[in-house]
């Protein structure tokens, strides 16, 4: 057991995470009458993969034929693991909420027909707006308050505790319902905005017995200038590519699926934006994706006239698909009072076996946050005993001061480096094959005892030790699931099994942290009714 917290709060709903999913969840919970607290590891407005750059959204006009066609295409590419009614619902909810974003004051540009173009948003302005929306809804926002573990009793979850990174004091929030919106896990790869997301929420949920689903669908990298972090790929459509000798290897236009991985596996690869060959075109590229140019301008490289080296950064389950298994239409999990939203949750219901990257995941953050917020608010309203009167216990089991089983300090840097050595190489994680993954999983399993050690003094060590434990367990789930899926389906490939196996046309649910077990979940892709969207009162300018 651990000591009482320095600061305590009580609420109906606690949202953990302040990226888009957490923001929408907190807004939705508060708008449904719940006293809501949002605790973020960083800062609501800058945290998460969305805030720094631009993001596409699924924004489809309510045209039945068009939506049906898109749902069918999506079902077909999802390897039989997505569900039609959820895709419909996602489209409708994202469409309605993006209207609210417009009413709140986001300044969408015009398209060539003079209509507002709402399928793309610039992250800094979007998330700055969401911060104001959340605060105006009455949410109590706790920035720089990483959650370290959940609280629970026989009735389910009842809050969380963590530490304030600015003053080192511990905090505890007791709440009837908790929404995990901590994002995916990218193993500190420095993909744009990805380093806040170290899989903490997945570990917290698993410690309460919640299953993970789809962790094998995590073979996702993004290209960037080799020195930089701006993992927004679209401008590379305007590039030609060269090898180290300066020989042209691709002159632009359509590329094969594996182009970057295959080329970078051979050796260094260089790009130049040769297809943006007039001042007008160059201005359009700049104004569409301004952040992409910042590292170039600072390095003194002109990407239109000079070649620059490119690299791939791993995006883990952020642009992958796996995460906390959702069981209810309100994004509830198998534990009473616990909900998941955004990239912390499995996105298989809408993405299936493919990447939900870009538009789908960004819209999923909006929709799942909205659904989870309503579900959590309703659940909280149905509870009779005040959360602060329950006999709640800290539920963390790994990487915490009170869970240490040895006195050896957790070697955070060593563990992180060794996890990255297993997760980042294309030869292990991209070109997947059975013996290579099996050997890697064995090495990852050897890291697990290291994160059961003691925690060095100080707030940074407390947070980073827990992150190290979360990254090791997420990596082990990923390769455990990958090895179970002896086939190629969606984004998961296996050299020995190059085609889909119909006997594996099911999801893989994993449970446990010390010992990982699994079971299949069969999916009905069609049928069932589409739930109506959540409607919150009309938005006013914020």
């Amino acid at each position: 057991m651990s000591a009482p917290a320095d600061e305590t709060l009580s609420a109906d709903v606690l949202v953990i995470g302040g990226g888009p999913a957490g923001a929408w969840a907190a807004w939705s919970a508060a708008s449904h009458g719940a006293r809501t607290v949002l605790a973020d590891k960083g800062y609501l407005g800058t945290s998460g993969a969305t805030a720094p750059g631009g993001t596409n959204f699924l924004y489809v006009e309510p045209d039945d034929a068009k939506r049906s066609r898109m749902v069918e295409e999506r079902l077909a590419s999802g390897g039989g693991l997505s569900e039609g009614p959820w895709i419909y619902r996602l489209m409708e909810q994202a469409y309605l909420n993006i209207h609210l974003v417009e009413q709140w004051g986001y300044r969408f540009p015009l398209d060539e027909h003079g209509n507002l173009y709402k399928a793309h948003m610039q992250g800094p302005e979007y998330m700055e707006l969401m911060r104001r929306v959340v605060r105006k809804a009455g949410v109590h926002v706790l920035d720089q308050h990483p959650a370290l573990e959940l609280l629970s009793d026989e009735h389910g979850v009842g809050g969380a505790r963590g530490v304030n990174r600015l003053n080192g004091r511990s905090w505890e929030v007791r709440a009837h319902a908790v929404i995990i919106a901590t994002g995916g896990c990218a193993f500190l790869s420095k993909g744009l905005g990805c380093n806040v997301q170290t899989g903490d929420g997945q570990l917290m949920a698993s410690e309460l017995g919640v299953e993970m689903s789809g962790m094998e669908f995590s073979r996702q990298y993004a290209t960037t200038a080799a020195f930089g972090t701006i993992t927004r790929n679209r401008l590379l459509s305007f590039a030609s590519f060269y090898n180290e000798q300066g020989k042209l290897v691709h002159e632009g236009g359509p590329r094969g699926d594996h182009f970057f991985a295959v080329q970078l596996d051979k050796g260094p690869l260089f790009a130049q934006l040769t297809h943006a060959d007039t001042p007008d075109k160059r201005e359009i590229l700049r104004a569409s994706t301004p952040l992409w140019f910042v590292p170039f301008d600072r390095a003194g490289i002109d990407p239109f006239t000079q070649k620059f080296p490119i690299a791939m950064r791993y995006e883990g389950t952020i642009r992958g698909t796996g995460g906390i298994r959702i069981v209810g239409e309100d994004c509830s999990t198998a534990v009473q009072g616990l909900y998941a939203a955004g990239d912390a949750a499995s996105r298989e219901k809408t993405a299936g076996a493919r990447s939900g990257g870009g538009a789908y995941n960004a819209s999923w953050a909006i929709a799942s946050g909205t659904w989870a917020g309503q579900g959590a608010a309703r659940y909280a309203a149905s509870q009779k005993v005040e959360a602060r009167q329950r006999e709640l216990r800290p539920a963390g089991r790994h990487g915490l001061e009170h869970t240490a089983v040895t006195t050896d300090p957790i070697p955070v840097r060593e563990v992180v480096n060794r996890v990255q050595q297993e997760m980042f190489p294309l030869r292990i994680n991209y070109f997947r094959s059975e013996p290579v993954l099996a050997a890697s999983l064995e090495r990852l399993n050897q890291l697990w005892p290291l994160v059961q050690g003691s925690v060095s003094p100080g707030v940074t060590a407390a947070v980073q030790s827990r992150e190290a434990a979360a990254m090791v367990v997420n990596a082990r789930w990923m390769y455990t699931a990958a090895l179970l899926r002896k086939e190629t389906r969606g984004m998961h490939t296996m050299a020995e099994y190059p085609v889909a196996d119909e006997r594996l046309a099911h999801r893989l649910l994993l449970s446990g942290t010390d010992r990982i077990t699994y079971r299949p979940e069969y999916v009905k892709a069609r049928g069932g009714s589409v739930l109506p969207p959540v409607i919150v009162k009309e938005g006013q300018p914020i």
Partner: protein, 118 residues
């Protein structure tokens, strides 16, 4: 990574310490932000975007230190350049969202794709 806090420009508001998503800064006894954990910087440029005094500089390299000179950065117009591009602090006179050329970019991309596939 973050390379510079301009003591000359800093107004010790503490905002960068609060907004950094990966907790790179500490405050010293005078309230001045200190780059305490540079290795944790994810090169997301968000601190610069929020700095009201244009006192911060994030260099282009994510994994290696880059030597910078404040006078040189000012001469090149780089201190505060990202905040100016977004339009933060401009009270709406500048908005990266409002001037987003994504709709035209999509058309241009589509034409490269089809031109090259024939």
């Amino acid at each position: 990574m973050i390379e510079l806090v301009s003591e000359d420009r800093c107004i010790t508001c503490g905002l960068c310490v609060r907004v950094c998503p990966t907790n790179v800064f500490d405050s010293d006894d005078n309230g001045l932000p200190v780059i305490a954990r540079q290795e944790d910087c994810q090169t997301c440029f968000m601190c610069e975007a929020h700095c009201p005094a244009d006192a911060l500089y994030v260099a282009h390299h994510a994994d290696e230190k880059v030597e910078v000179e404040e006078a040189d950065l000012i001469a090149r117009g780089l201190l505060g350049s990202w905040r100016a591009t977004i339009g933060f602090g401009s009270h709406g006179a500048v908005s990266m969202a409002a001037t987003d050329t994504t709709p035209i970019l999509r058309t241009m991309r589509a034409s490269i794709q089809s031109e090259r596939s024939v």
